[in-house]
């Protein structure tokens, strides 16, 4: 079935869930390790870039209201370009979700389930993914909204709870590892805004096509605020975050805060919300893959595709040897594939498509 009744707030939640999941796993740590004490400056800098970028993308999509990037590429280059872009996006989504899945399962295994083989934890996630996708995309998107709100509340609680320990001077020296690392090499931290991927795919799903602008801008601003708060909390509250890579930033935040005096190990309680949000994320990744495959291959019924795609994600998640390998592959995938794809190639397609549109409708007065 086609998903076409997504309201504004549900679309915002769709985009947010991607970032929220990575926040709970490793994103703040990666940023802080690369930039040192200037991480907050760096994050504000890339947030501004990302917001400007989003505005540009919204403007470029204006002419093609109601069509996503695959439709635009078919307008530009016919079937060939559509197939290339579609297949590339499918492979991209499958690979990042499977790597993230492996990383998260390994994290869970280290923290709570020492003796369990990783394959059982992975099977839980894949099982839930299959069952959820059988029920269709609308229920996944609705559940995602609830999960997103729960996770946001949890995140805000964790940020607020380390406030007594914060020392503002940890953001000094202001330039961290140097101006070039902060501003030039620091551009690789744009991977934090991976949620832009969904922005390219969401227009046909919206029930009200004019809301795309609102959806895009609000979600990017909320993402930016969340990342700034997360990086700020982890940097300012702990002195060792610039040197030591602890397993999960949110775990670190939650285990070392004021709750710890009254409630022992509060992070176990919040692990429930992380697992829930991650399951929601895997459901969405599978759902997007199915929609893309349907578009590229023109099949009508997406249900038989559920099991193959989930099994591919499961198989790819088993490939890396251990946690560190998974993290390395993920990081290099983000840096070398994600940034060119999201910030260079896809916008280029949009720009060329806009040009072609202008050329075709050169004689129309309402171009």
């Amino acid at each position: 079935m086609n998903i076409n009744k997504v309201s504004t707030i549900e679309a915002i939640a769709l985009i947010l869930i991607l970032t929220i999941n990575r926040l709970s796993i490793s994103l703040p740590q990666d940023i802080i390790l690369s930039c040192g004490s200037s991480s907050i400056l760096n994050v504000i800098y890339i947030s501004i870039i990302a917001i400007i970028f989003t505005i540009i993308i919204v403007k470029l999509f204006k002419r093609f209201a109601g069509s996503d990037i695959v439709d635009v590429s078919s307008f530009l280059g016919g079937k060939v370009l559509r197939n290339i872009v579609g297949i590339f996006l499918i492979l991209y989504i499958i690979s990042i979700s499977s790597l993230l899945l492996r990383y998260f399962s390994e994290t869970l295994k280290v923290l709570y389930y020492f003796d369990t083989p990783v394959i059982y934890i992975l099977l839980f996630f894949i099982g839930v993914c299959i069952i959820s996708n059988i029920f269709g995309g609308h229920s996944i998107i609705k559940t995602n909204l609830i999960v997103c709100i729960i996770m946001l509340i949890g995140l805000i609680i964790s940020f607020l709870s380390v406030t007594p320990n914060m020392t503002i001077q940890r953001a000094l020296p202001i330039l961290g590892y140097g101006a070039d690392k902060t501003f030039f090499y620091g551009l690789t931290n744009l991977i934090a805004f991976n949620g832009l991927l969904i922005l390219y795919l969401v227009p046909p799903m919206l029930s009200n096509k004019e809301d795309f602008k609102k959806v895009a801008i609000i979600s990017i601003i909320i993402t930016a605020i969340l990342i700034v708060f997360a990086v700020g909390s982890v940097l300012l509250a702990f002195s060792f975050s610039t040197e030591i890579d602890k397993i999960s930033s949110l775990y670190m935040l939650l285990s070392n805060n004021v709750f710890g005096k009254y409630l022992q190990h509060p992070e176990s309680l919040f692990s429930f919300t992380w697992v829930l949000s991650f399951m929601s994320y895997i459901n969405i990744a599978c759902m997007l893959c199915i929609q893309l495959v349907k578009k590229v291959t023109n099949v009508k019924n997406g249900k038989p595709l559920i099991i193959p795609i989930s099994l591919i994600i499961f198989a790819l998640a088993l490939l890396p040897k251990n946690l560190v390998y998974a993290h390395q592959i993920e990081y290099s995938l983000y840096t070398f594939v994600s940034i060119p794809l999201l910030f260079i190639i896809l916008p280029a397609i949009l720009i060329f498509a806009n040009r072609k549109y202008k050329k075709i409708h050169r004689n129309n007065y309402d171009v």
Binding site: S37, F114, D115, P117, R170, S239
Partner: protein
């Protein structure tokens, strides 16, 4: 059609067998709650034959119906000589019937001897573990840790874990020590802005009481005369009771090695300067002459403002302290309305006496940390970092080494707020 339904039945049967096998496979990490032994306190000593002597304190869970067993029955301490914490716990697993679990460990006790050799490995190992709670307190014990653990008898509680939790938060109202947790210790150790401290503890028995006058501080007579009761170090207070543990004062580290200790009074000064004091009671010399000293209750009026400037390459540290005073003691003379403490003149005199007393002693304390211990435990480094642009420059300057060249200027401004029921 028939084949499809037939296939569906087979698929459902296989799926249910798979799920049942999967669920009952037993490969999951189920630890039955009563198959675990929960360690309450961990003790680290220098071993005779091995690098480390590990002691653990367990508590036997009493039955629900009996009201009070002998607390000594419930307190079980075992020690083993081993080469590292993990191998020691492994040895214990084979000796004690249940599996050792550190998730409820409240206290880590490290002996003085081991601390002077360096505790960084142990700190990293303990924080690497998933079970260990980062909010466990770190105590440096002047006696061997095994003796410390053996002597810790809860007087008013039945569970030793309760005792540790309550006892170590007494610093909030006495100020004589500080509630240092494992994560705070580790954070301060890794920090380039400061050096770590830990709680100083010891066993208070009749032998240590006689050391009451041979304290380690070489501070002025005024301090030791007037505040003799606060100037003890752990284990030396003349309390007559059975052997029991006592936490007073702080242990000062430079890096990960123990370099010195602070007595109770100096801990109060440390809390004042680093802006962590809640409230405490000390005595100040009485300018009015009706008694030797006045007991006052101190609390911070606003946060202490520290500042660092660089003069000729050395740090010049200023500290601006604002306090609220409440007078606790009362004499016959002071309660009479004509010469009570609260006339304008007398108030000014008391405040000035307090300022003078505190600024002198705090300056002495700061010079002690700088010249003797070379250890910046008050965290002045964070005020010095604003002069540097990149982390490379800051690391090259190496604040912690340069602390020993610093000079201090302390100003105290106290305000007499009130007394108690005698006005």
């Amino acid at each position: 059609m028939k084949i499809l339904t037939h296939f569906r039945k087979i698929a459902i049967i296989f799926l249910s067998i798979f799920i049942v096998l999967f669920a009952l496979s037993g490969a999951y990490n189920t630890q039955n709650i009563d198959r675990l032994a929960y360690v309450i306190a961990l003790g680290l000593d220098v071993g005779e034959n091995e690098p480390l002597k590990l002691s653990i304190q367990l508590s036997r869970p009493g039955s629900t119906k009996s009201s009070s067993d002998q607390s000594s029955d419930n307190n079980i301490v075992n020690s083993v000589e081993c080469s590292s914490i993990e191998s020691g716990l492994n040895l214990f697993d084979s000796y004690i019937s249940r599996k050792i679990n550190l998730s409820h460990c409240k206290v880590v006790v490290i002996s003085e001897e081991l601390a002077s050799k360096g505790v960084s490995d142990y700190a990293y190992t303990l924080l690497n573990s998933v079970e260990m709670s980062p909010h466990a307190n770190v105590i440096i014990s002047k006696s061997p840790s095994e003796k410390f653990l053996n002597s810790s008898q809860p007087i008013l509680e039945s569970l030793a874990s309760n005792y540790y939790e309550i006892a170590l938060s007494s610093s909030e109202y006495t100020g004589l020590t500080q509630n240092v947790t494992l994560i705070k210790f580790f954070s301060d150790y890794v920090d380039t802005f400061r050096n770590p401290v830990a709680i100083l503890g010891a066993v208070n028995s009749k032998d240590t009481n006689s050391l009451s006058n041979s304290t380690t501080n070489a501070s002025t007579d005024m301090a030791s005369d007037i505040n003799k009761d606060s100037s003890y170090v752990a284990g030396q207070t003349p309390i007559s009771s059975k052997d029991n543990i006592e936490n007073m004062g702080l242990a000062v580290f430079n890096g990960d090695k123990l370099v010195g200790e602070l007595n109770g009074l100096e801990s109060i000064f440390h809390l004042i300067v680093s802006n962590q004091l809640k409230s405490c009671n000390i005595s100040i010399p009485n300018p009015l002459g009706d008694s030797d000293s006045i007991d006052v209750n101190l609390s911070l009026k606003s946060s202490t403002k520290n500042n660092v400037q660089f003069v000729n390459g050395s740090p010049y540290i200023t500290s601006n302290i604002q306090l609220n005073i409440k007078i606790l003691s009362a004499t016959e003379q002071s309660s009479k309305s004509d010469s009570d403490y609260f006339s304008d003149e007398n108030m000014k005199q008391i405040e000035e006496a307090c300022n003078k007393y505190l600024s002198e002693n705090i300056t002495n304390y700061l010079y002690k940390t700088s010249k003797e211990y070379h250890s910046d435990i008050d965290g002045f480094g964070k005020h010095a970092v604003k002069y540097f642009l990149t982390m490379q420059e800051w690391n090259d300057y190496n604040w912690l080494d340069n602390y020993k060249n610093s000079t201090f200027n302390v100003t105290v401004d106290s305000t007499l707020k009130s007394g108690y029921t005698f006005l």
